[in-house]
Assembly symmetry: C2
Homo-oligomer: 186 residues x 2
Amino acid sequence: MKISVGISNHHVHLNEEDYRLLFGDTVMEKRNDLKQPGMFASTLQVSVEGPKGRMDRFRVLGPLRGYTQVEISKTDSYSLGVNPPVRNSGDLADAVPIKIIGPNGEIERNACIIATRHIHVDKKIREEHNLVGVEKVKVQKVGEKGAILDDVYLKDSEEAYFELHLDTDDANALLLKQDDELEIVE
Amino acid sequence: MKISVGISNHHVHLNEEDYRLLFGDTVMEKRNDLKQPGMFASTLQVSVEGPKGRMDRFRVLGPLRGYTQVEISKTDSYSLGVNPPVRNSGDLADAVPIKIIGPNGEIERNACIIATRHIHVDKKIREEHNLVGVEKVKVQKVGEKGAILDDVYLKDSEEAYFELHLDTDDANALLLKQDDELEIVE
């Protein structure tokens, strides 16, 4: 079964309170829709800082959520000097501290993770693709720097666009570009 | 069969002529030995520059070779704005142009590649590990962000240290550290 790839660059989700601390009264505006229904990239960016360094231009995704989360790659983690766990989005129990810097102020939160490899699904997609009851799959890239990636979690939402999300480390290791197609093999 | 991982950060090999253009009369000194017999990291560094950006502190490896070669990751290629092919070391037929900047001068060479995943072997290692006549294998990382990587080429030399070389994209995608052990699976 084929699935198209969405490459997730490092980015930030914010809750209402942290958004206000970083951006004050600025209204969040949409830059562009993402493929997941309702999700969008805003026009706003923040910087993030760890013990070893600072990185600028982290995109703030919308809409606001119930939690603040900074998703980075392992490569980023060496630049920042942090050691985040690999976690599904929203699972922040042992997320590591990170400073987030906006135009209106800065905050430090236990919010930094490396996101798991995941595929967005909903009830209808699971039924159509014979994925009912499946927790995780493997995906294969055939060709130059090919690989089979384990532990690709199925992530449910009310209404999803069927897409594989990989971080920039996985994508670059396999020479993948946005919308490339991989094969679900297990 | 187990094999230990050596992570290759981006680096530069130089021929005698290019070494002189970049470093003049400076004698190349060893910083530390590498595991491959005779190979070493020198104390010298260069900068490399592509159409989109410059990166500093590329280590010059020794000894000098018959060719000049800049090995980068796909991640680096986006920073530099180059699109190098994936090639075995020394196969520079369609390597892409890159500028190399040293204290004594700068040069531009068709020298930039992404190195293939490879395992260093010699005749004795091939015999001991049942790898006689094998061109390439697959290697597996079990555990968090696990994967099977294809197209791991066996690279012969007169005397080798049996080790898997991966670039930083592959290593970071699989959360690997220097000297981690993977399994040769095919």
